[in-house]
Structure formats: structure tokens, C-alpha cells
């Protein structure tokens, strides 16, 4: 292959990379270069039909005998009776479960302490006595010898540790058969963490018609610090012209915005190579029907 052709290919590669870089930079950066001043939209003018003057009149005040209002506690659902379990007439009793006998733990014999020693322990002062000094000037040589021996022992132990660590590292380097499973478990943990956090911030429109049947898929993009990038994006789920559904989606978006920032969760997400996540809001299991 000639040098000219090689240079040509390299040039094309460089050009392609630079172009890609420009596209990526524009995609990420451009929306934030200019933040236009948002002015509120003008209000809609509405005029009333005048209603009869008679209906504007107020009835003459009458002395009212006030009665103590019979207020009662708020929840008034017809309380369903709790199911109670009772054995059937023709039921055959199950065989008694065999008890698993655990071996009794070995009890270490307590050292026998004499009465005099117990008494001495009781009257012992609370302050821990200092041990007598073991330094004897006549035995310095022996101490030096011992320190050399101990040093040798330490070196031996260190070597053993290093060998063990090396073995462990080698084990780690080998592809584990559970690696995929561990990855999935990590993903499941992140998903669960997001789910738990957002659930606590989701205030559903209670009593809205058909709310138990609604679902909404909302995409959130994160910055590395866990803050939300841009506005949450409604992907799918229902008809936004339906007032009930629009309010349902509003509550979903408010939930993810209120619960932020997501520092730890976003960090884990970025480690998995993602910067966005889709939230599927589905209250069908909440018993709202």
C-alpha cells in the first residue's frame, strides 16, 4: 500500500472523527447556549351572561338554632370482614413436622475460681494496674536477638500473603461464569433504587376516572452529578387530549422532578454506560379500581 493512500485513509478517518465530535458537541451543547426569556402567554378573555337580578339577592337572615354537627371519623368505606381460617370437617391432619434436633453447643468449662480470688476480684480497684516493666538492662542482648527472629517471621508471613493475593488475582482475572448474572443483579439493584425513590414522590390523582388503567412512559436524562438534564420526555401511554390522562402524566413528571437529584443512582447508571432511564408509571396494582 502506498504512503499516499495510507495518508488519504488517515485523513478521512481524522475528518470523520472530527465531524462526529462536532455533531456530538452540537447535540449536547446547543440547547443550553441560549436560554430565551420566557414570558407568560396572555390570558384568555371570558365574558359572562348576566343572570337574573333576583338570584343575586340574599335571603333574609334568620336566627339559626345551631346543633352540634354529628361529625364522625373520615374513612367510611364498608369495611370488609377479615377472612378467618377454619379447618374443614373432612380435613386429614398432616403428620407432625419432625423437629430438627440441633447438636447442643459445646460448653467450655468455666475456670474454677477460689472464693478468696473472687473476693479479691470484687475489691479490686477499677483502675487497670500498669504491668511491671519488663526491661532489664542485663538482658538487652537477648531482646535484640528476639527482635531479629520476629522480623524474619514477619517477612515470611508477608510473603505468604503476597502469594495468596497473587493466586486470588489470578482467579479474578479468569472470566467468571457468574459475571453476567452479577451484571444483571447490579442492573436490578439500580432499577429497584430508582423505583423506590420515585414511588415515594408520586402523588396520584385519586378518584380520577379510570386511573387504575392508565400507564405513562417517561424518559429522564441525567447529568453525571445526578441532576436531570432538560425536561422529562413523555414517550407513550395514552391520549394527552384526555384531561384525566394529562393530569396523570403531570403527576408522573412531577414525581421524577420532585425526587431529584439522583446522585448515587445516576452514578450507578453512568457506570453501566447509560445516561437516561425510562420510567413506566403503572398504578394497576394499587387497588384503585
Amino acid at each position: 500500500m502506498s504512503n499516499a493512500l495510507l495518508k488519504n485513509i488517515l485523513g478521512w478517518c481524522l475528518s470523520l472523527l472530527l465531524h462526529l465530535g462536532v455533531v456530538v458537541a452540537a447535540y449536547i451543547g446547543l440547547p443550553y447556549l441560549t436560554r430565551p426569556e420566557i414570558t407568560p402567554p396572555p390570558p384568555i378573555a371570558i365574558e359572562f351572561i348576566a343572570i337574573s337580578t333576583k338570584t343575586q339577592q340574599v335571603a333574609p337572615k334568620v336566627v339559626v338554632e345551631e346543633e352540634a354537627a354529628e361529625e364522625k371519623p373520615q374513612p367510611k368505606y364498608a369495611a370488609a370482614e377479615q377472612p378467618t381460617a377454619s379447618p374443614l370437617d373432612d380435613a386429614v391432619p398432616l403428620p407432625a413436622k419432625a423437629e430438627i434436633v440441633k447438636p447442643a453447643p459445646k460448653v467450655k468449662p468455666k475456670p474454677q475460681i477460689s472464693k478468696a480470688r473472687k473476693l479479691a476480684q470484687r475489691i479490686r480497684p477499677n483502675v487497670k494496674p500498669k504491668p511491671p516493666s519488663r526491661f532489664k538492662s542485663t538482658r538487652i542482648a537477648a531482646l535484640i536477638d528476639r527482635s531479629i527472629k520476629e522480623e524474619k517471621d514477619d517477612v515470611k508471613k508477608d510473603d505468604e500473603k503476597k502469594v495468596k493475593k497473587k493466586k486470588n488475582d489470578e482467579k479474578k482475572k479468569k472470566p467468571s461464569v457468574f459475571a453476567g448474572l452479577q451484571g444483571r443483579m447490579a442492573t436490578a439493584t439500580v432499577v429497584q433504587a430508582f423505583s423506590q425513590k420515585v414511588s415515594s414522590c408520586w402523588n396520584l390523582p385519586g378518584g380520577a376516572k379510570g386511573v387504575y388503567k392508565m400507564t405513562a412512559l417517561v424518559r429522564i436524562r441525567f447529568r453525571p452529578d445526578g441532576t436531570i438534564m432538560g425536561r422529562p420526555e413523555f414517550l407513550s401511554g395514552g391520549d394527552m387530549d384526555d384531561g384525566f390522562y394529562r393530569v396523570f402524566v403531570d403527576t408522573a413528571i412531577r414525581a421524577v422532578l420532585t425526587c431529584g437529584p439522583y446522585e448515587l443512582e445516576a452514578k450507578a447508571l453512568f457506570e453501566m454506560g447509560n445516561n437516561y432511564i425510562d420510567f413506566n408509571f403503572d398504578p394497576s396494582g394499587m387497588g384503585l379500581e
Partner: protein
Amino acid sequence: MTFYRFSVAAIVVLLFSCMAQAQLRVDVTQGTIEPVPIAVPEFAPVVDVETSAGPLSDIGASISQVIVSNLVSTGLFRAVDENAFIEKITAAPTRPNFASWRPLAVQGLVTGRIEIKPDGNLRVEFRLWDVVQEIQMEGVGYNTPISNWRRIAHVISDRIYSRLTGEDGYFDTRIVYIAEQGAATARQKRLAIMDQDGANQQLLTDGSYLVLTPRFSPNRQEITFLSYFNDQPRVYLFNILTNRFEVLGDFPSMTFAPRFSPDGNKVIMSLAEEGNSDVYVLDLRTRKVTRLTNDPGIDTSPSYSPDGSKIVFNSDRGGSQQLYVMDADGSNVHRISFGNGRYATPVWSPRGDLIAFTKIGERKFRIGVMRPDGRGERLLTDAYQDEGPTWSPNGRVLMYFRTTRFQNGTGGKPSLWSVDLTGFNERKVPTPFDASDPAWSPPLPVTTKGQ
């Protein structure tokens, strides 16, 4: 050629690297249902001037109070204490400082400005802000006579409620009911009307004749009711806007519980002949009466479904008083209630998904709801005597009257109560007299410009 191959390879690699990024999806299947925190600062006057209804600033404060009262009364909203407000809202049409409202956990912020126009009318503008998303959700302006400020507050409450819940509001509505006075042996019963929050009480009849079972037209400001004028039962039609009474029919036999069809063109009722009561329908345009049921049992309290295709009524044809549903022409009659006790005064929800009723049993009268097929029966109240339910126009709230137990010479007096469809938020409706048999109006008419 080489470049072409390289480009294709690069694009393929890029695509695969994008696809390799696993798409994570989080299922959020649990949440809470709590009142939404809202803040409604006083509506700021552009120029604080004296008006026929007081200083403009006082009107602004009153409007915000009425809005708060309306929204909180639903049980779906919680008002944030105004003493905690950090930002003072002015009449300038600017965005609020959301950072000042976020620490108060406010989700919906209502700001408003009011001014007197050169023609002497009041102009009220309001904006509803989503503090979390930092967006304006609603912005509406109204022109009206100053004396109408309270109604404006109700209309604004409806807009806010509608935007935050997804269903129509019911604050700009009225209740017609029977105002009762006097001893039990000489009870005076008069037709009365009030705003849904108990304001603007008026008496429509003078009490010289007995008035019973008032019912609102579902789409017009008209009431039908039964009256014993000169001891003759007559079904009347009363137009609230024109204050005109009209006799619908002078029925020789006993007449009960007249109620409008959903299109307002018919009135369905029960007529009793020789001790047997059946369901009849009166066409208001042709004045023709058609018999719908023909059974030896007592059939009464008919109510149309919102699409007008079905009718629910109660009948003792099966031995005890139960609920039955039939087609609008009287065919295909089938029983829907099978619980213990008796069922009375069924009313079909304007949403169409539920039927409210009075359940009689266990020595109590209680208000309950069930689906039109009879499934999912739920009792919403549990007092000594609750009866006569009426639905709010959005099918979210039920109003009924409660009579206390008569003991030791006291009690036995009726009053109006309301309860949310979920069975929570039971409230007493203030009335100056004893009150029974409420009927909820449709929303009052509003004309719109620029929509």
C-alpha cells in the same frame, strides 16, 4: 471504494455501540394519594380604588379566600398557610420566583390581578403555575359587574380544579332544596336555592303550599318539582333565569319523583292509580305521557342514564324494594341489587359509571353506590338516616340530607351533607333553615371570547 467501505463500517460500529447501550426501564407501581399543596395569594389590585362592593384590595383578598375554600372543600387540595409565603405577588404580569415557593412544597400556585375597567366592570385575571415544572398551566381573564365577584371566584376555582384533576369543576353551581321550618305537626316547606358552598341563600316559594322533590334539568337552569296546590298534586317547571313557573301537568292521580331526561326534553315520574304505582314519561314538547312499566308491584324513583338509553328505578315486584334497570322504552327489565336490606332513590351518575342509592337496613338509612350492573356496591355514609342522594355535575361528589334521631323531644331535624365519591371528606353544608331533598344544578352558563 476503500473510503466507502470504511464509512459503512464506521456507521455500523456506531449503530451497534448505540444499540449496545442497554435501555433501562423502571416500573413505578406504587404511589401515594394525598391532597395537592396549593398556594393562592391575594389577588393584587392594579390600582386600589373604592368600589360599590368595598376596596378593590378587599375584593382581591375575598376572591382568593373563596378559591381556597372551594378547592380545600374537595379534600383533594391542601392550602399552604399564607403566613409562610416568601414572595409577595404583585399585579405586574411577571413569572413568579419559583425558588421561593418550592421550599413550601407548593405544587400549584395561583396568582391573580384585578382592576376596574373604564366601563365600570371588574376585570379579574388569574394564572395557574406548576411550581415543580416551572410552567404556566392556565391563564384566563374575566370581565363582569363588580357585584359578580363571588361567581368569578367560583368560575376560577372550576378552571383550576379542572386543570389539576382532569375533570370538570362543580363550584359555579347551585343547589335547590326544601327549606323546612316549624313544629313537626305543622311543618312549613319552601323551595330554596343557594350556591353550592351555602352562600346566596334565597327562598323561591312562600310556604303557603307544600313543595316536594325538586330536580334540576341537566342542561338548563330549570327545576321540576311536585307541589300540592289547593290539595292537588301538580308537577311544576320553574326557570331560574326568568323566574317563571309553569304547570307541567295536572295529574288526577298521585304523582311522585319527577326527574328530567339527560337532554332535558322529557320528564320521567311515577304515577299511582288504584294503589299501583308505575313509571311514566312525559314529553315536554308534545305533552304526551307514555307508560313504561306495567307491574302489580310499586315502581318509583326513576332516573335516566346520562346517555338516555337506560332507566334505573326501584320496585318491590320481587317481594322487597330493590333496584332494577330497563331500556328507555321500558323493555329488558332486570334486577341489579342483591344485597341485604332494601334499596331506594337510585340516581345515575353524570359520568355514567355508578348509581347512587339509599340503602335501608340494620335500622339505618345509608348512602351507597354500585356499578350499573350491580357489582361493586359500596356504602359511603354510616349515620342514623341519610337519604335522597344527588350528584354534582361532574359525578365526583354526592349531596344528601341527614335526619338526626328523635330522642327526648329533640332531634329529628334534617340538614344537608356532602361526601366524596371515595367515601372521604364528609361535610355539612350550611343552610339557614332545616334542609332536605337537595338537587344539584348543572354549571351556570359562561360565554367565552377568543377561545
